[in-house]
Amino acid sequence: MPYNIVVLVKQIYDLELVKINSSTGEPVLEGVPFRFETLSKNAVEEAVRLKEKHGGKVTAILFGNDKGTQVMKEAYAMGVDEGFVITGYQEGNVALTARVLAAKISQIPHDIVLLGNQSADSMSGLLGGKISAILGLPYVSNALKLEASGQKITVESAGEAENMKVEADLPAVVSVSQEINEPRFPPVMQIIQAGRKKMNVEQAQIRVESGIKVLSRLAPKSERKKVIFDDMDKGAQEIAKVIKEVTK
């Protein structure tokens, strides 16, 4: 049977391009481009595969800022049918993110809600649990494998010491692991077509205090010795000495 699939997409700073101001130790974020968050891509891939197998529709929601349309275009190129970009994202306010996304999900028909298990910038990993609690839906996390059949999903979920195979009735929320699939690289034609597709951009209407006050946000100082050898032989001797000292 065809499914209505909603996939949550995050945009993050291109972390390799974030520089540190050497005099203040603060990150320089101005002008740093955004990219498609790693596990969000796996979530989109899984959503599109489900649609290709069973039919249905994939709707993506991105809570970010107005630059989010770029990432959404990539999601379109991968096979997303309709996208909503909601602006008003606040760094570190997971409660706001959860409520904005949950409110939007509840306005869209949804059988399966997909998201990444943990995002590559903050790694909080709280979002799936929060959204499932707000919407009152069963939640299965860290999926290695996902199968849908009728009104039910079966998921292999990776845990700390064991993997669990579980079942839940739809609608349900599923967070995916990186191992679940290899996200596709869309062909050029699809990317061009994606650029022309209609996109919904709206402003978040919900306000939530984070309850958190940031005291500082600085690069950790490296206190390493940094003794670097261009001379292989000398370096090897010195390093062997260090290893012997520790292993003796």
């Binding site: 390799e16 990150p27 997971v94 946000r217 670097i228 370096g235 090897a236």
Partner: protein, 293 residues
């Protein structure tokens, strides 16, 4: 203060209990049965059996917590983070997430965590009642206690467990290794490992790798990946061979005592994060170092 602790990692359970020792009364909720947990100062251990899914465990913790505890401290594992998210919405409280340092101050807490993929440390003050804690909050030193154990059967929730399968292979205990030899893309090919393994064995090291080596090329298994999104290690010596030193990687080995790097590229960022470095071919370096041991 009264702490309720949930952890499905034995090591992190011990580290959290040992960290909280002397700060108040602590009850540990553990889905893992292990007698050694009793020696870390918990006033009680509740062994969780039955349906260990996110919603069933969360609903149990909600009842256990209500009116009886000040803080819910959760080990940052996949299940831990999911439970923290679920409960925080049900209780409408703030979560301080992924912290590696906690100080309790007049009803508030000051915590530290990494952000931007490990590039920065954020120090924040909050009214959080739930804290998810990274491995390594303390050394995990036994206190000589003999905590009583109570067993609880958790009823099924919305998600049904079909089967449970222990993870294949032995868990690699990178977190406990005293020396780690870690390889990166510079290795060039999987077969290169054959030249690294005897060296690692000679110095009693575990082998680990960077994200591309473990997740993209599969030269090593995924559980050997050191990094922000992988294992966080703190050996006495961390030898980075052919690893460029992207922040993703540094964030997983920053607490190592001595860092040694070998890389062909003298501008590789790893040289800013090492104590000793050789600019050159890693295979030659391994041979040379080995010959001086």
């Amino acid at each position: 203060m009264k702490f309720l602790v949930f952890s499905d990692s034995l090591d992190v359970s011990k580290q959290i209990l040992s960290f909280l020792n002397g700060k108040g009364e602590t009850r540990l909720l553990s889905p893992r049965e292990d007698n050694s947990l009793r020696g870390y100062g918990a006033s009680e251990i509740v062994l969780l059996k039955g349906s260990l899914t996110i919603d069933s465990v969360s609903e149990f913790i909600l009842k256990e917590f209500a009116g009886s505890f000040d803080y819910l401290i959760i080990a940052s594992t996949s299940l831990g983070r999911d439970i923290a998210g679920y409960i925080s919405e049900k209780m409408n409280v703030t979560v301080a997430h992924e912290v590696f340092s906690i100080a309790f101050k007049d009803g508030k807490i000051v915590t530290k965590r990494f952000d931007l993929g490990g590039k920065v440390v954020i120090e924040e003050e909050s009214s959080a009642k739930i804290v998810t804690v990274l491995p390594g909050i303390s050394e995990g030193t036994p206190s000589g206690s003999n905590s009583p154990v109570r067993v609880v059967e958790i009823p099924a929730g919305k998600v049904r467990v079909v089967s449970v399968e222990p993870k294949k292979g032995k868990e690699v205990e990178l977190e406990k290794a005293s020396i780690i030899v870690s390889v990166g893309r510079g290795l060039g090919k999987k077969e290169g490992l054959q030249q690294i393994e005897p060296f690692a064995k000679k110095i009693g090291a575990e082998i680990a790798g960077s994200r591309p080596v473990c997740l993209d090329y599969h030269w090593l298994s995924e559980d050997r990946q050191v990094g922000y999104s992988g294992r966080k290690v703190r050996p006495k010596i961390y030898l980075a061979l052919g690893i460029s030193g992207q922040i993703q990687h540094i964030a997983g080995m920053r607490d190592s005592k001595i860092v040694i790097a070998v890389n062909k590229d003298k501008n590789a960022p790893i040289f800013q994060e090492c104590d000793y470095g050789i600019v050159g071919d890693l295979y030659t370096a391994v041979q040379k170092i080995s010959s001086y041991l």
